[in-house]
Symmetry: C2
Subunit: 578 residues, 2 copies
C-alpha cells in the first residue's frame, strides 16, 4: 500500500474556515486574458561569472523577463494573449515543506482551468522520487478540497530534494516525455531552484518541449533578488517563531532567572533570525552575516554574550533571550574550517571515529576543546548541497555551555556579581514550518505561478557547477539598520514585543513581515521624495517667474522626461506582484 | 535598581485588542450583593488520613463550604451580605507562571473596588521573596492597564515558590501584620497551595487576622477535585502545545521520514499530554498513569514504541508523532527507584561524581546502562517538593535513543524492513506557558477570587507533613476512555487533527479543553438520563392507570422527593463557577 498523500483530511473548525478563504489575486493576474510585456534579456548578477554561466546555460540564458500587466495598463507593445490551447502540467514538491506550498498547487490549478477547462494538472506523489517513478495524481477541485490554505506538503509529499544526477535528470526527462507534459513546476528553495535551472537547460538541449518553472517556496527567505521580494512560507514561519520567542521573553521576565538560547531553523543565512528579532524584540541576536563581516571567532561571540549578561546583571537583570540562526556554525571562521576538514575526510571515506586523529593541528586543537555532544554532531555527514546538517548541530547548547563556563569563572574571580547563570536551550523550526499558513502566505503562494525562469538570473558559481547563491542579510539594508538602531535598547531595556499567536481575523491578521515593510516603506519614501522635488519645481516655476528660470526649467525637464521615458520603456519594474 | 515589575509595557496590536476584552463573570459573582449559602464542613478525602489532617489543621479543618448564589436563586437560609467594610488584601505569585495569572489580580482588584472603593490591593513584587521583604506595589487600574488579559507573571514576578520554613512563615506573618492585611492571596499550583493551607493554619494559631486564600493557577492541570474542575493556564497551555504538536504531525506527514518524540511540560502527571492528544491526535502517547498501573519498565515502553514503528512500517508509514509527559521518568518503577537512591545520596551530601559507586547493585546496573547525557541529568538535585528536575531530564531523547538502537537491531535481524529509523526530539513547555491567555483562561482567572480555602479538603499526607496530592489522570474517566477508544486509529491511521494557532475570534476561539467537555457532557448526559426516568414515570402513571400503580408511584416519589430535598439543602453543588 502506498502512502496517504492526497486523501481527504478531517479538518478542525479553524481549518474548515480557512479552507473557505479565497486568496486575492493581483490585478495583473485577474481574468482570462494574459497581458505580458517582454523586457530585456536576463543578465548575470556578477559580471565576472558571465562566461561560466553562459557556458552552463547556452540554451536558456538571456531570455526576456516577462512583466504581467493589469487590464488597465497602457503599454503599447504588450502581448495580449486570449487563446490558450489545452496544456498538461506536472508539479512536484522538491524542497523542504513550507506553509503555503499547497496554495501554489491550488493557484496553478485554478489558473489552468480558468484559461482552458481542458488543461490538466498532474501532481507527482512523493516528491522527486514520485517524478522519477511517474507516480501521479490528477489535481481536481475535489482533491484540493481539504488542502486549500492548509499547511504542510502532505497533498503530494516530498522525498529526496534532488533532481541532479544523470540518472535523476534522465528519469525526469522520461517522465515529462511519457506524460506529454508542457510544463513541469518545481516547488522548493535554493537547491531545488538550482536543480530546476539546470533541468531547464538539460531539457532545452534535449529538445524536450517541457518548460521547467521553479517556484521559490522556502521558510528560509533566502531566495531573494530584485524580482522576488520574499518566499512562500517565510511570513508564517517568522510569525509562529515570533509567537514562541515572545512567549519565552514573557517567561524570562516573569521568573527573572533564565537566559533562553533559541536557535532558529533557516539554513546558512539569518533572514529568519533578523525578522523574528524585529517582530519580538529579544535581547540579542547573533547574525551570521555580522559574524562573517567581523570575522568573529566562537570565543569572540561567547565574550560578547558574557559581557551582555554581566552588563544586564549590573542592572539587576538576570534573565534574557538570545537568538541564534542555525547557520551560524558555518559563519564562524574556525568552526567552518573545521567542518570543511571533517567533510573532506568523510568524503575520502574516513570513518567518523578516526577523523579527529587526521585533522590539521589547528582544527584538532579546536575539536579537542569542544564538548562531546557537539563533536558528535559536527561529525555528521553533510547534506546534499554540501552544507553541514545545520538542524542537527546544537550551536545554542555550545554557546550556552561556553557562556556558563565563562560566567562561573567571572563569578569566582569576583568580576561578575549577578545570580548564577542559568541557560535553557530551544530549537524552533519543525514546529513552525508545519503551521497553517498566514493570510499573506496563502495569497502570495496562490499567485505564485507567475514566477518563471527567474532563477538563473541570480546564478553564480561554486566549483564546477553554477548554483543559485542564497541571499545574505544585507548589512547595508533598511531592516538591518532598524535592528542596529534598536540593538542597545533591546539588549538592556527588555522592550519585548509579543505579536501573539497567528491570527486570521482582527489585528495582526494582515501584518506583513517587518523586514518586507521596511523595504516597502523605503520604496514609497523615495517616491515621496521625488514628488517633493516635483512640487518644488512647480512652486519655483509659477506665472511671474523670470524668463530665464522658465527657460532653464523647460530645458532640464525635457531632458529628464526624455531620459526616463527611454529607461522606462526598456526595463521591467521588478514589482511583478504589486 | 530593582526589576521592571509592574511598569507599563508596549503592547502589540493583538495585545492591545486583548487588553480591551472584558471577561465574563458568572451570575453568582455579578453585582455588589454577596449571596452565600454555607454548606457542610469540609471533610477529609481519604478517611484514613482524618487523624493526621485533624492534627495538622486543628484551627482550619472542618470549615463550611461556601456556595455563591445568583440573585435569582431561592435558597431560604442564604446569607445576604450587602455591607462591605474596607479591607486590605495582599497578593503574591508563588507558583510557576501560567497564562491567566494577571487576570486573577485584575479580577480580585475589580471585585474589591466594586464592593468598597476604599478596599486596597497590594501586590508583592518578586514573588514570595517580595512577601518576606514586604516589597509591595499598590494595584490600581493604571498599573493593570497593559497587563489585562496578557500572559506571564511579569506584573509582580515570582521567585522561589516556597513559603514553608519557620523563617519563611514568620516573615510572611510579620508582613501581613505590618501591612495590616485582612487577606493574603497565594497564586500557584500544588506546592504553593499546600503551603497556603499550612500558612492559614499557622496564622489561625498565631491569631493573625489575615485570611489566607490559595488560587489554583498551574499549567499542569493537576489541582483538580470535585470543587475545582480545571486550573487557570491549563487551557492555554494545551492549546499552544496542540498547535505545535499538530504542526509537527503535518511536518511528519509531509516528509514521511521522521518520528517526533515530543516531551510535554506538566510535572508528575499526564493531564497536559492527555488533553493535547485529544486535541491533536498524534500517533501515540505514553501516559504516566498507564505506566504506573501496568508497572511498565523503560524496556517495556521501548518495546511498545518499537512494535508500533514496525507495524506502521508494514503499512509503508515511516513517520509518526509520540507524546511523552515530562513526569514519566517518575512513573517508570526502576527509574523512579534509581532517582530516589540518587536523591537520598545527594541529601547525605555525596558529590554527584561519587554517586554511581554508592548505588545499590540493581540501580547501579541500570545507571551504567544509560547514555551519558541522561546520567548527568538524573544526578541533578531534586526540586523543593522533592520531585526530580523533570524539565531537565530529556526522557524523550532517552526513549528515542533506545528505540533507535532496537530498530537498528531489528533491521539487522531482518524483522524490521522499514526505512532507517530517524527521531527528532522536542520539549514543549516554556514556549507555551508564556502565551497570551485563551479567552477561557481570561474569564476563568478573572472569576477566580471566589475559590477559598478549598485546598485542605484534598489534603493527604507524605511523611510528616500533609500535602495536597496532585490529581492523577483518572484511568476510569471519560477523557481517558475517549483516548482508549481511538488509540488504535490514532496509531495506525494518521488521523492528525490541527486546531491551529490560538484564536480570539471565529472558530475555536471559544473552544474548551476536550477533557473538560467530555466530563461536562457526561454530567449533562446523566441529567438527561434522569429526565428520561421522570418521563417514563409520567407515561406509566396517566389517567386510566390502575389505583395500585398510582398508589405505588405516589409512595415511592414522595420518598424520593423527601430524600433529595434533604440532600440538596445540606450539600453544595460543586458547580461554583456555572
Amino acid at each position: 500500500m502506498d502512502s496517504d498523500f492526497g486523501i481527504a483530511r478531517e479538518l478542525s473548525p479553524l481549518q474548515q474556515l480557512r479552507s473557505q478563504y479565497r486568496p486575492e489575486l493581483p490585478p495583473c493576474l485577474q481574468g482570462t486574458t494574459v497581458r505580458v510585456e517582454l523586457g530585456d534579456g536576463t543578465t548575470v548578477a556578477k559580471a565576472g561569472d558571465a562566461h561560466i554561466i553562459a557556458r552552463a546555460f547556452p540554451h536558456t540564458l538571456g531570455q526576456p523577463l516577462a512583466h504581467f500587466l493589469r487590464a488597465t495598463a497602457k503599454v503599447p507593445d504588450a502581448q495580449i494573449i486570449t487563446e490558450h490551447p489545452a496544456i498538461r502540467v506536472g508539479i512536484v514538491f522538491s524542497g523542504r515543506q513550507a506553509p503555503g506550498g499547497h496554495n501554489v498547487v491550488w493557484g496553478l490549478y485554478e489558473a489552468l482551468k480558468v484559461h482552458n477547462a481542458k488543461n490538466t494538472l498532474l501532481g507527482f506523489l512523493g516528491g522527486s522520487e514520485g517524478l522519477f517513478a511517474q507516480k501521479t495524481l490528477e489535481i481536481t477541485d475535489n482533491v484540493l478540497q481539504t488542502y486549500k490554505n492548509q499547511g504542510g506538503f502532505d497533498l503530494l509529499g516530498r522525498t529526496k530534494d534532488q533532481i541532479r544526477t544523470t540518472e535523476q535528470v534522465n528519469a525526469a526527462l522520461k517522465a515529462c516525455m511519457d506524460l506529454k507534459l508542457d510544463g513541469l513546476i518545481i516547488i522548493g528553495g535554493v537547491t531545488s531552484n538550482t536543480d530546476a535551472a539546470h533541468l531547464a537547460e538539460f531539457f532545452a538541449e534535449a529538445k524536450c518541449p517541457t518548460k521547467v518553472v521553479g517556484v521559490p517556496v522556502t521558510i528560509n527567505g533566502d531566495l531573494k533578488n530584485q524580482f522576488v521580494e520574499t518566499n512562500v512560507g517565510f511570513d508564517t514561519t517568522c510569525k509562529v517563531n515570533s509567537q514562541l520567542i515572545s512567549n519565552t521573553c514573557t517567561d524570562a521576565l516573569s521568573a527573572e532567572k533564565y537566559y533562553y538560547f533559541v536557535r532558529l531553523m533557516g539554513r546558512k543565512h539569518s533572514h529568519v533570525a533578523l525578522e523574528c528579532t524585529l517582530q519580538s524584540h529579544p535581547n540579542m541576536v547573533i547574525l551570521g552575516e555580522e559574524v562573517t563581516a567581523s570575522k568573529l571567532t566562537i570565543f569572540d561571540i561567547t565574550k560578547q554574550i558574557c559581557d551582555a549578561v554581566q552588563a544586564r546583571a549590573e542592572q539587576d537583570k538576570n534573565h534574557g533571550v538570545i537568538l541564534i540562526p542555525e547557520g551560524i556554525v558555518e559563519s564562524i571562521p574556525e568552526l567552518y574550517a573545521l567542518l570543511k576538514e571533517i567533510h573532506g575526510l568523510l568524503k575520502e571515506g574516513v570513518h567518523a571515529d578516526n577523523i579527529s586523529a587526521k585533522l590539521s593541528p589547528w582544527s584538532s586543537a579546536l575539536f579537542g576543546f569542544l564538548p562531546p555532544f557537539i563533536k558528535k554532531q559536527l561529525l555528521l555527514h553533510p547534506e546534499s548541497d554540501d552544507s553541514a546538517q545545520l538542524s542537527q548541530i546544537e550551536t545554542e547548547k555550545l554557546l550556552a555551555y561556553l557562556v556558563e563556563t565563562e560566567m562561573n569563572k567571572r563569578m569566582k574571580e569576583g568580576t561578575y556579581k549577578g545570580k548564577k547563570f542559568n541557560a535553557i536551550c530551544h530549537f524552533f523550526g519543525y514546529q513552525a514550518r508545519g503551521s497553517l499558513p498566514s493570510k499573506f502566505d496563502c495569497d502570495y503562494a496562490y499567485a505564485m505561478m507567475t514566477v518563471k525562469r527567474w532563477s538563473q538570473n541570480s546564478g553564480s558559481t561554486t566549483i564546477g557547477r553554477p548554483v543559485i547563491h542564497p541571499a545574505t542579510v544585507d548589512l547595508k539594508g533598511k531592516a538591518y539598520e532598524l535592528l542596529r538602531q534598536n540593538a542597545q535598547k533591546f539588549l538592556m531595556e527588555d522592550m519585548y514585543r509579543n505579536p501573539g499567536p497567528l491570527q486570521y481575523d482582527g489585528p495582526g491578521a494582515d501584518a506583513k513581515a517587518v523586514s518586507l515593510c521596511v523595504e516597502d516603506q523605503d520604496y514609497m519614501g523615495r517616491i515621496k521624495k521625488l514628488q517633493e522635488y516635483l512640487d518644488q519645481v512647480r512652486t519655483i516655476v509659477k506665472p511671474g517667474c523670470s524668463q530665464d528660470v522658465l527657460k532653464a526649467a523647460l530645458s532640464v525637464m525635457a531632458s529628464v522626461t526624455d531620459v526616463l521615458s527611454t529607461i522606462s520603456s526598456s526595463s521591467t519594474s521588478g514589482q511583478q506582484f504589486a
